[in-house]
Amino acid sequence: METIEKSAERRIVPAGTQGLAVRSSALVARGLRDLSRDSNWLIKKVFRGHTRHLAISPTGQVCAISPQGRHSAQRVVLYDIELCVPNLALSVPNELLVAATDLPAAFAWSPTGRHLVAAWGAWNPALHIFDLHGKALLGTFGESKSFPAHLTWSDTGKYFAAGTSGGSGASLRLWESAKDSAPLARTAASEIGTPEWIEAQAAGAEFADEGSFWGYGRAAFSPDEKSLASVVEIRGDWADDSIVILDVPRLRNRNAFTAQGHVTDLTWTPGGEHIVYCAAGQAYRLEAATPTFEPLPFGAELCACHPHLPLCVCFSSWLKNSAKGRLFLVDLNRLTVFDEYAAEGVVDLRWSLDGSKAFAVTQDGLAYIYEPPLL
């Protein structure tokens, strides 16, 4: 009895579509994505819980305080905005297990999204720097009595700034580092306390209706990294915040001017000639060199300029005559709003690294992705 052994070859009937399917997969995915939306805005639920403390990365991640695990303890968690999945929960030595949602927190992503500087009330009072490629805590720096109010990196990652508030102890510190490298030095390269023009006044003391120096709020480096614009917060019933423009890296005062109310956000235009800022719900444009300002024809509380186009994405929680919030795009050349979407509770805005998308995330973990076909 003779049989022929079964061939080891298992090449089954070739499927003619396979090569083509791989080649066209990106275009098919693009078609599916375009099909699932009827506007330039895509809305996704990214995380559960409620927090005002979050920061969006230029690569489409969001770092937020949110409940994790069976006991719903609060953690600092990184989520992928488009995939709506948690990527990583950050932890540090001696981290407290807390359920409280009101602990202070501040985050800043490096320009490439590789590093994250974070401070949180459940951690030691210092800035913690993480390498997210290596998924490791690289170290701590910038210990301070006051909790940081705002953290920011410059465009190439060469500079990092941290502002604190709280009155007399408030400061603005600047660190230098090689491009997108870490960790940063334990002590700052430059530091300022009370701004020069207020120095004459006693810090913390009342001065008429103008209020008292409280600290440093939102800050942003100019695109050429030669200047740092920071909000100087003045506390008082009728007090107006100021915006100070400082030389980098020495933090010498170049220009300062008084805004019209509490400044909630500021952003440099791509060329670095102007700063768009939001004060008391109104948007303004400030010429950095003079400095002179003009009100823009729309209200806004948050704003972020496009990295290289004269566009700005804004959020306003109060739309005239409707008391409803909206996200919208502004053409800074024509000062016209050309795309908008209803939204409530947005706490951060950011453009992607290449400027093809803008992200906005609300305190309830809802993300708005603006992805127009022509950017």
């Binding site: 693009r30 050349n333 024509r334 022509l374």
Partner: protein, 264 residues
Amino acid sequence: MALKATDIPPVHTPLKPEDEELALKRAEQAALETELADRELRAANLRAELHAFEARYLHFVGLRYAELDELKAQIAERLAKEQPANERAQQAARDARSRADDTQSAAGEKAEHEPHAFQSSPEMKRLYREVAKRIHPDLTSDRADRAKRQQLMAEANDAYAHGDEAQLTKILTEYECSPEAVKGEGPGAELIRVIRQISQARSRLSEIEAEMQELLRSDLYQLKSRLDEAQQHGRDVLKEMIEKVDSQIAQAKQRLEIGGTNGA
């Protein structure tokens, strides 16, 4: 008196155990062959439908995406030229150019003829099922025969995808007349052959199932399903997609001509 042939009582020779087993296995094999042919037909149908849909999608939408990305690259390059010191603008232009090249490569060249949706007649299905039953490579354990069957089955798949009925008939006829179609040797060898063929057929059934699942999970199938579903409700979504991209192309052209950012 001579007995007539019809008067001879039939002699029931009991089947040998190996013949009995062989008969059982052949029945099992026949059932599996039918199932395998049906499954192959379903898989071939799905592959052919997706292949045809993909060709249509690339022709009508993919090429438009390529045109749009090319315009976007030109816009980005112009902006980069206007802002030579802005590294972000330079990078954006490089990225846009790279994306445009990728899209063009994925969309391919414009076909001379408009691709059509896949359609299969009942006769085509019957023929394909017959081919799969007769020449399926997993229904033989002969190495040379298997290689020949693989080649023929690939040709049959191609003929089916292109609706070429004559070619399917030719493949079937040619194989039926070939020496490989002749079976032989004793029941023992045949039994082993049949058992192995059953095993191969089962294995192939599992592979078809896995392939079907993969195809059903693919983005291409999801997209096709969305379009088919909408069509059942009277909506031509492919046409809507074309109009949408055309409108974006028109906006991009306008931007390229007059400059500015409005309409992004």
